[in-house]
Symmetry: C2
Subunit: 241 residues, 2 copies
Amino acid sequence: MPISRFYKLYLSPNRKYVKVLKNLLGFVPGNLSLYRLAFRHKSVAQNVKHGVKNSNERLEFLGDAVLGSVVAEVLFKQYPYKDEGFLTEMRSKIVSRVNLNQLGRKLGFEQLIEYDNRILNSGRQGSLLGDAFEALIGAVYLDKGYEFTKNFLINHIIKSHIDIHTLEQTETNFKSKLIEWCQRHGKDISFDLIANQEGESTKLFTIQTSVDGEPLGIGKEFSKKNAEKLSAEKACESLGI
Amino acid sequence: MPISRFYKLYLSPNRKYVKVLKNLLGFVPGNLSLYRLAFRHKSVAQNVKHGVKNSNERLEFLGDAVLGSVVAEVLFKQYPYKDEGFLTEMRSKIVSRVNLNQLGRKLGFEQLIEYDNRILNSGRQGSLLGDAFEALIGAVYLDKGYEFTKNFLINHIIKSHIDIHTLEQTETNFKSKLIEWCQRHGKDISFDLIANQEGESTKLFTIQTSVDGEPLGIGKEFSKKNAEKLSAEKACESLGI
């Protein structure tokens, strides 16, 4: 064992934190301050300089990009005969907030993240874990480089925690998601055809999705079904569900 | 000069193509078939297997991700005191189709891309160059790895062809963009307040943007101005402008 590693794990004043991270990540971290930052939510951040706060949001931006790139390569190689539409959809499923939140929960992030319960309202707590996961990837990247991060993600995260084949089967159906949400919250929902354009051989449908009479999304497609789907997706987006 | 490099540049039957690529990229490519694929538009693609065509679309998916990751790191390091909102916006500007198309034009991609003029309608030709640029990044990545691609992008592309400081100043104003477009095409435009929700201390505005009476986008924000901006952005999106 190299001396620096021995020092970090057994002698340094941070040895407890180093061990927690080693258990979590499977490797001994280099620059500890990056990892501390990755687990610091903006609700406990302080102003550092020029209005920038020492929260994990910048690392999240970087980690999101690195994660997107690694997942793109994994899918590109795993599915040599699938087109880019399939690859894009699979990636969205893997890096969705729902999936990354679950991952953060499985990995035990709740004990590691610093956040202020009073500031955080329950709605926003939802993405706390997924955001920290992305920030952690940003920290690993800055600490160890791309190849290391890629191997870490593939061997430590994707292989053990992400079931790509199950994700392949699940379809994100925004229309049924929205209908269920409205039923649960006692709200009326309607999908109205608000325009209808005829081309030479095609017909373009414009569907507006309204919840309790309020228009929330418009979808324009060459089939009524797809226009509904698209407008439901936009409505889900504006409701944040 | 290593023998393989000498062979590629001066003896191989592909030496002409190798030289063209070397002039374009600044390095001698390894796996030529990747680069040929990057410059093959779907309009000239043939079915390979299981319905997958040998066009540049899969490489574009991969290259888009790698490019996003490299640009994220460049911005993260160049702007240590800017928040993630700024970084996200700057990245969108750098990797926008408009910007990548310009880049492809500057680099002379028009001579390299294989495409079928008859199939391609003028509207879609717009993103031909930018798409090929992303596909090229995917090819470089598979051929040479992440660090090489990153250095290539930074030293050969970003430093010479992208003026980050000018991009920092330009604001994408979707509302004026849409108004100009409507004037040019003789179309009526309206921004209508269609809902108005009052919270405890805030007011939520819902604005619908219509062109020639047809609703194209809805924006919901805490200020009327921002709601208009958002709905104009969505309208631009659905008009493809």
